[in-house]
C-alpha cells in the first residue's frame, strides 16, 4: 500500500511518467483550491472554475518541476545517483497527499468554525489530526524514497532534503520579490492611488 512500511520507490518506478504528470496536475488543483475557498465570496463561480481547472495544473507543474530540479541539483552536488525523472516521479507521489492534506485542513477548519465552537480541544484535534497524519506519512515516504533513489546515507539524505527545501523557499521569495518590484516600479503613481496600493 502507498503508506505501508515498504518504501514506495518500487511503486513510483513502476508507474508511467505520464501518471506523475497527472498527479502533479491534480496536486496543483488541490493547492489552488485552498485560496479559492477564501476567494469564493468575492469571485464568481466561473472565475473559480477557470482558476481551478486551468491554473491548478500549471501551479502543480511549476512546483513539481522546480522542486525536483532543485532536489536533483543538490543531490548531484552531494554525490547522489538518482535521475531527474526518478525524483520527479517520487515528488509526484509525495505532492498529491500533501496538497490534499493541506486542503483537507482548510476545509475542516472552515467547517468547524461554522458548526462548532473553535476553542474546544476536540474540534482542534478533529481539524488538525487527519491532515497531520497524511502529511507525516507522505513526508516520511518521500524521505525514504529519495534516500533510496540517491543511494545516500540517512544523514546525507537529510542534509540534501533540508538544503533543497531551503533553496525552494529562496526561489519562492525571489519570485515574490520580483513581483513586488514589478508592482512597485512597474505601475504609475496615479494607478497605485486608484488601486489603494
Amino acid at each position: 500500500m502507498i503508506f505501508g512500511f515498504r518504501s514506495v520507490h518500487e511503486v513510483a518506478w513502476a508507474r508511467a511518467a505520464i501518471t506523475a504528470v497527472i498527479l502533479n496536475a491534480v496536486s496543483g488543483m488541490f493547492l489552488v483550491a485552498i485560496p479559492a475557498v477564501f476567494l469564493a465570496p468575492s469571485a464568481t463561480g466561473t472565475l473559480l472554475a477557470v482558476l481551478f481547472i486551468l491554473f491548478g495544473p500549471l501551479i502543480g507543474f511549476i512546483c513539481s518541476s522546480v522542486y525536483s530540479r532543485l532536489e536533483c541539483f543538490v543531490g548531484r552536488r552531494l554525490g547522489g545517483k538518482a535521475s531527474l525523472d526518478d525524483l520527479y516521479r517520487i515528488f509526484a507521489w509525495f505532492f498529491l497527499p500533501l496538497s490534499f492534506a493541506l486542503l483537507l485542513y482548510v476545509l475542516l477548519d472552515l467547517f468547524s468554525q461554522t458548526l462548532m465552537k473553535p476553542s474546544e480541544i476536540i474540534t482542534m484535534i478533529v481539524t488538525v489530526l487527519p491532515s497531520l497524519i497524511i502529511g507525516y506519512c507522505s513526508l516520511r515516504n518521500y524521505c525514504v524514497n529519495v534516500i533510496a533513489a540517491q543511494q545516500f546515507t540517512r544523514s546525507r539524505g537529510a542534509v540534501s532534503m533540508v538544503l533543497t527545501f531551503v533553496l525552494f523557499l529562496i526561489v519562492i521569495l525571489a519570485a515574490v520579490a520580483l513581483a513586488s518590484i514589478f508592482a512597485r516600479y512597474g505601475m504609475s503613481p496615479d494607478l497605485k492611488t486608484i488601486l489603494g496600493v
Partner: protein, 440 residues
C-alpha cells in the same frame, strides 16, 4: 510511453500555457456599442460666458477680479498642463492655491437642526449679526446674485478627478446670508419681497439640480433647496398669505420635475467622470508601466463600469417606494464580485469590483421630496387653521399628494413636539425629520 513522446507532451503543455498567458495579456473586450455612442457624445464647451460652473470655480476670486474670468483662467491653466503631458500632481500645482482669494467672514448660525431654530426668529433676535454678515461679505453676496444671470451649467466631466473643483462652501454661506437678509426684510414687513427673493434663489438651484453632471453639485443644490423649503415653510406659516404670496409659495414648493430630482443624468456624468480619470491615468503611464500595458484593459473596464452605471440608473429611476424595497433587498451592498475578467484584466477588475455606492445619494433625493411635502403641509395647516387635534386627520387627507414619498403613507404627527415628520430611507435604523407646525 517513450521519452520522445513525453517530450512532445511537455512541449505541447508549455506551448498551451504560453499561448493562454499571451492571449490574456493581449486580449481586450470589444467596447459596448451603447457605451461607445455615449462616450462619443460631445460635451458642451466649458469655458464659455454664462457657464455657472466656471463662475462657481472662480467664486472666491481675489478682490476686484471677476469670478468668471478667474474661473476661466484656472480651467485654462489646468488644460494647458494636460496638453503639456505632465502628470496629475503637476495639474494640481498648475491650478495652485491662491492665498489672495476672498474668504467668507463671520459666524453663521446653525439653522434647521434638531431644535426649532428658524431664520425669522434668528433675524429678529440678532439684527446686528445679520447686518455684520451682510457688510463683511458684500463682495461675495454681490457675486452670489450674479450667479442668477448664468443660463448654463456645464461641467468638465471628461477631465476626470484631476480637474479643479469649485469650493462650494463660500457659495452656501453666501446663500444662507442672503436668506437671513430676506428674513430680516420679512420681519420688517417686506414679506412679498422676501418670498420673491426665496423664489429667485430656489429657481436657480432647481436649475443647477436639473443640470448637474456630478453628485457634488447635485448634493449642494439639494442642500440649499432644503433650506429654501424650510425657510419658505417658516414664512408661509408665519401669517395668513394674500393671493400673490400664495402663488409665490406655490411656485417655490411646486413638485419637482424628473430631471431636477432624478439622478440619471448625474450618474451618467459621474460614470463619464470616472472614465475620464482612468483614461488620464492610463495616458500618463510611461512605457515601462507594464501593469497598465498588460494587466489593464480599457474596453473591458469600461464595459464593466458601464454595466454598473446602468444598474444604478435603473435603481434611480424607480419610484421612492420601489426604491425602498429594492434597497432593503440589496442591503446597500453591491455585487462587485470579480469575474473571469480578472485573468486578462486584473487591474480593471479590481477597479470595477469596488464600484462607488450611489444608493445613499439617491435616497437624499427622496428625502428632499419629503421636505418639500412637509413644507407644503406646514403652510397649508397654518393657512387652514388646522387645530392640533385635527392634525392627524389633516395629514391622512393629504396622504396621496403630500404623504411619505418612501412609503406612500401619511406624514407622522407628534402632538408632544408639535411636529410632523416622515421616516426616510436614509441610514440604519431609519431616521425621523421633524418640522414644527407651531407659529414662529
Amino acid at each position: 510511453m517513450s521519452a520522445t513522446t513525453m517530450k512532445w507532451i511537455k512541449a505541447a503543455v508549455i506551448c498551451f500555457y504560453v499561448l493562454i498567458i499571451a492571449g490574456f495579456a493581449l486580449y481586450d473586450q470589444k467596447l459596448n456599442s451603447e457605451l461607445e455612442r455615449f462616450i462619443k457624445q460631445p460635451l458642451p464647451e466649458i469655458v464659455e460666458p454664462g457657464n455657472a460652473w466656471i463662475v462657481f470655480l472662480g467664486f472666491d476670486a481675489p478682490e476686484g477680479v471677476s469670478p468668471y474670468v478667474y474661473g476661466a483662467q484656472v480651467m485654462r491653466k489646468y488644460r494647458d498642463s494636460l496638453l503639456a503631458g505632465t502628470n496629475s500632481g503637476t495639474h494640481l500645482q498648475a491650478v495652485g492655491d491662491d492665498k489672495s482669494k476672498v474668504a467668507f467672514k463671520g459666524k453663521r448660525p446653525a439653522l434647521y437642526g434638531a431644535k426649532h431654530d428658524g431664520m425669522l426668529a434668528f433675524a429678529a433676535a440678532h439684527p446686528d449679526q445679520v447686518t455684520a454678515l451682510s457688510r463683511d461679505n458684500e463682495e461675495l453676496l454681490r457675486r452670489y446674485h450674479g450667479l442668477f444671470e448664468c443660463p448654463r451649467h456645464n461641467q468638465p466631466v471628461d477631465d476626470g478627478a484631476f480637474a479643479p473643483v469649485p469650493l462650494y462652501l463660500p457659495i452656501r454661506r453666501s446663500c444662507e446670508t442672503k436668506l437671513l437678509l430676506l428674513a430680516a426684510k420679512a420681519n420688517q414687513g417686506e414679506f412679498e419681497t422676501a418670498l420673491a427673493g426665496v423664489q429667485e434663489d430656489t429657481e436657480f438651484w432647481r436649475f443647477i439640480a436639473r443640470n448637474s453632471d456630478t453628485l457634488l453639485s447635485k448634493m449642494v443644490a439639494f442642500a440649499i433647496l432644503r433650506i429654501n423649503f424650510l425657510f419658505t415653510a417658516e414664512l408661509g406659516a408665519s401669517r395668513q398669505l394674500n393671493g400673490k404670496e400664495r402663488t409665490i409659495v406655490g411656485n417655490i414648493l411646486r413638485p419637482f420635475d424628473k430631471a431636477e430630482i432624478g439622478f440619471t443624468q448625474t450618474l451618467r456624468g459621474e460614470f463619464r467622470f470616472e472614465l475620464g480619470t482612468l483614461r488620464l491615468v492610463r495616458q500618463e503611464a510611461k512605457s515601462w508601466d507594464l501593469v497598465s500595458a498588460l494587466l489593464w484593459k480599457p474596453n473591458a473596464t469600461g464595459n464593466r463600469l458601464y454595466a454598473h452605471c446602468q444598474a444604478m440608473c435603473n435603481l434611480a429611476e424607480m419610484s421612492p417606494q420601489q426604491f425602498a424595497i429594492e434597497r432593503k433587498q440589496w442591503g446597500g451592498v453591491q455585487d462587485g464580485r470579480m469575474d473571469v475578467g480578472l485573468l486578462y484584466n486584473p487591474v480593471g477588475e479590481i477597479i470595477s469590483s469596488r464600484p462607488a455606492n450611489y444608493v445613499a445619494y439617491i435616497g437624499v433625493g427622496h428625502d428632499l421630496e419629503g421636505y418639500r411635502r412637509l413644507s407644503r403641509l406646514k403652510i397649508m395647516a397654518r393657512q387652514e387653521d388646522v387645530p392640533a387635534e385635527g392634525m392627524q386627520q389633516f395629514l391622512e387627507s393629504h396622504k396621496t399628494d403630500l404623504g411619505n414619498p418612501c412609503t406612500g403613507g401619511p406624514m407622522i404627527w407628534d402632538p408632544k413636539k408639535s411636529s410632523i415628520s416622515f421616516i426616510s430611507n436614509e441610514g440604519q435604523p431609519p431616521s425621523m425629520i421633524f418640522l414644527d407646525t407651531g407659529p414662529n
